[in-house]
């Protein structure tokens, strides 16, 4: 019998998880962040339920500060999958005009993303949400379960997790509680890129190098994606050949100088690179245990 390659095993496991979660929940939803991991997760969902459409909507918790290319990809993904797309913007953050420039990255992330996500899940009474997190991303995630329980207040208790044995997932929960499910738990960054390459999965072009207007700020290259970007005196956007390893709010995403304009080229750069992908994210830099703290509070 042909034995499966590691990517085939990962794919089969993820599909297994997606199906099990859908079969055992009432109102599932997929958190769609438009990034490469979300793209892979969505692709796997289409495979899992084909010829049916994936039987759940996509939820994008919008901050209004994503790259324009990301919004374009979001619409395309919804159109091509035929799935319902729910966009949630925290009305409070919208009213207060929360932005990373005047309010700082911590408050911006908390209001738009952490609070926005809780609001959206409560509003639609979703009892299960798929997320694209991987265990290799960060130390505290290495111990996260595939099926991760959240209290009615959306809190994660790392000391009270259910053991996961074989491929038997216990999905039972009390009313009000919800489950976050991570079908990509066992994928690494390299697996994700290889799979995108192999399966020809559409991704936001920002991952590939191109000439883009950037300014250098606090040691990071920030792209000036629209007219809302407040230039400091003396700052002039310069065109540089850059790409992004992770995508989020454009004022918080650091670009790297690169000429890698194809998938093999960026995989090559990644393999030869010497920093992890999370280094491009401003939110991780506070302290080494910061992600764990955010998770306990309800950040995805």
């Amino acid at each position: 019998m042909p034995s499966l390659t590691h990517l085939q095993r990962l794919e089969a496991e993820s599909i297994d998880i997606l199906r099990e979660a859908v079969a055992e929940s009432q109102r599932p939803v997929m958190l769609y962040s438009i990034g490469k991991d979300s793209s892979v997760m969505l692709h796997l969902a289409r495979k899992a339920f084909y010829p049916s459409r994936p039987p759940f909507p996509l939820l994008h918790v919008d901050t209004t500060w994503k790259f324009r290319d990301m919004y374009a990809m979001r619409e395309r993904a919804a159109r091509e999958s035929g799935m319902e797309l729910i966009v949630h913007k925290n009305p409070e953050a919208e009213a207060l005009g929360i932005n990373p420039f005047t309010h700082g990255s911590a408050k911006h992330t908390d209001m738009w993303k952490t609070q926005g996500l809780k609001q959206a899940l409560d509003l639609h009474r979703f009892d299960l949400a798929f997320g694209g997190a991987r265990r290799d991303e960060e130390k505290s995630r290495a111990k996260e379960r595939v099926f991760s329980f959240r209290s009615a207040q959306h809190q994660w208790d790392p000391k009270n997790q259910r053991p996961e044995l074989w491929r038997l997932y216990n999905t039972r929960k009390n009313p009000g509680e919800s489950i976050r499910v991570f079908p990509l738990s066992n994928w690494t960054e390299l697996d994700i890129w290889q799979y995108i390459h192999l399966e020809d999965i559409p991704i936001v072009p920002l991952y590939l190098a191109a000439e883009r207007p950037v300014v250098e700020r606090d040691g990071m290259l920030i792209m000036v994606d629209d007219e809302r970007f407040p230039l400091r005196s003396g700052e002039t956007p310069k065109n540089k050949s850059v790409r992004f390893r992770t995508l989020g709010c454009y004022p918080l995403s650091g670009a790297i100088e690169s000429t890698a304009a194809t998938l093999p080229a960026i995989i090559q750069e990644m393999l030869l690179a010497t920093t992890t992908e999370r280094q491009g994210r401003l939110i991780d830099h506070d302290s080494s245990a910061s992600m764990e703290k955010k998770k306990a509070e309800g950040y995805f």
């Binding site: 599909i15 199906r19 074989w166």
Partner: protein, 643 residues
Amino acid sequence: MNTAFQSTDRALIETDIEQYLRTHENKSLLRFITCGSVDDGKSTLIGRMLYEAKALLDDQMSTLDADSKKHGTQGDELDFALLVDGLSAEREQGITIDVAYRFFSTDKRKFIVADTPGHEQYTRNMVTGASTADLAVILIDARKGVLTQTRRHSYLVSLVGIKHVVLAVNKLDLVGYSEQVFNEIDREYRAFIERLDGSIERVTSIPMAALRGDNIAEASTNTPWYTGPNLLEFLENVEIAASSTNAPLRMPVQWVNRPNLDFRGFSGRILGGSVKPGDAIRVLPSGKTSTVARIVSLDGDKAQGVSGESVTLTLADEIDISRGDVISSAHDPAGLADQFEATIAWLDETPMLPGRAYLVKTGASTVGGSISKPKYVVEVNTLDRLVAKTLNVNEVGVCTLTLDRAIAFDPYADNRDMGSFIVIDRLSNHTIAAGTIHFALRRSQNIHWQALEVDKAARARLNGHKPCVLWFTGLSGSGKSTIANLVERKLHALGVRTYLLDGDNVRHGLNKDLGFTAPDRIENIRRIGEVAKLMVDAGLIVLTAFISPFRSERKLARDMVGAGEFVEIFVDTSLAVVEARDPKGLYKKARRGELKNFTGIDSPYEAPDAPELHLETEKLNAEAAADSIVAELRARGVLGLHA
């Protein structure tokens, strides 16, 4: 260092990335666990493997460097253990308390490591990590040799069916890289494995010093007497038997795929064998047969599906299949049974209660079931078989598992996925145990309930009212029987068919073999629940008046009948009041110690969280209480023509 894998990789990445990708796409995957205690240097070993396989990048190295200075235990040296001790609570305690998964790859393989703790109270984490592993790395501190925990880890590894063990004899630098020490440990361990007589077929002992990197990624000059493979070399090359082509097909149906009326597919993961269009299949438990028509996928129909793949099948015939059914080879179908001998590892702080109604998940089905008193418990340190009444947390025992209905299964030794199960508590929803099936104790011969033409609905029409259970619960002397009797009289006067089950007609007959211990109380309520269920099926309004102190059994009784057919009535009278009333003098006897296991005195009463009716008898007399129950039935539309 580590020239063996990394340099060729790097050269290929630089010169021909496309070729590298093609090679990497065809890598296999090995999952393994590491077992040992903090003191054996387990986290250090994993950290060292990540480091040697170049799975660490500059910023991780600089974080490690900073963390080593802050929390490290290795002076100015890098403390590799900090790489894998993820949660801050653990860092403070300085121990790993959970299963963590790590990833790295070499030229030939991708690896997923389950890092599992060695402390006694965390056996559950080791069983968890081992359940998905192909191989185990068991650490030994060369200074200490084979310890109790080594034997325990090996037993647990064997329990989950792992065949390959690497014995990592670590900290050899602290015994002067002594060949003699290594050989003695190797010999002692092999003798133990022989005695264990479990699944472990192959042991490979490697001398190492993880802190210094000896024999991790290349042959160490400190152990010239050792000619075997280094650890990573061994892990890269060890052959893991894929399940054989001849294994029979097993595919539990996870999801029925019905995009429209013309398509009916069955989605699931192949847990054994392979499948091709035209193959004859048998569906269990129904026993119906058909042939596979197509293997449908987003990328077009497939010619074959193999073990481990997630697929969607369509069949040539329209047969009724639902989630939890197992599609299996027609020539060699899975077994079908509802009672098994099984090994069970207890994972929860609350001990097992023999006879209690739990939920059991296996494959894609979850069914009710209960566990017998253990035949024996295995003392995991000595492997002695001990007599026991229950299973406590981290204990392993052999028990009889009885399910509410038959399921498709294979013995665990034949198929890990078809012979494993988890046990879930109905109230807490926790995963409280994990088990492996040895064999069926009672074969089920395709028992089907006859579809009766005269059913519950037909009887309800004839009676002119709906059936239900009025389940009274409360302390002894709270007034359950008094109120139930009044309600029955009022209903009878309305022309409703009723039956009252109480201590007099149940304890003296059906249940006269039962006492008042917790297991007997559970069995008492289970039988009453079953009788009530039959009577509901017969169309009656059944009144039950028992203390029924445990939530779990009340829930069991509730789950036996249809939604809306169970009305839980909490007759709420405080202990002080019932003790003062004490109509039969029972509380005085219990207080004097003449009555054991008396609810409220030396046995707990678990009040209902959300009863349909909550009657506070200190505010309401029996007559008014009975009237409120009849009013409730009227409001629920139960009384029909007799309202």
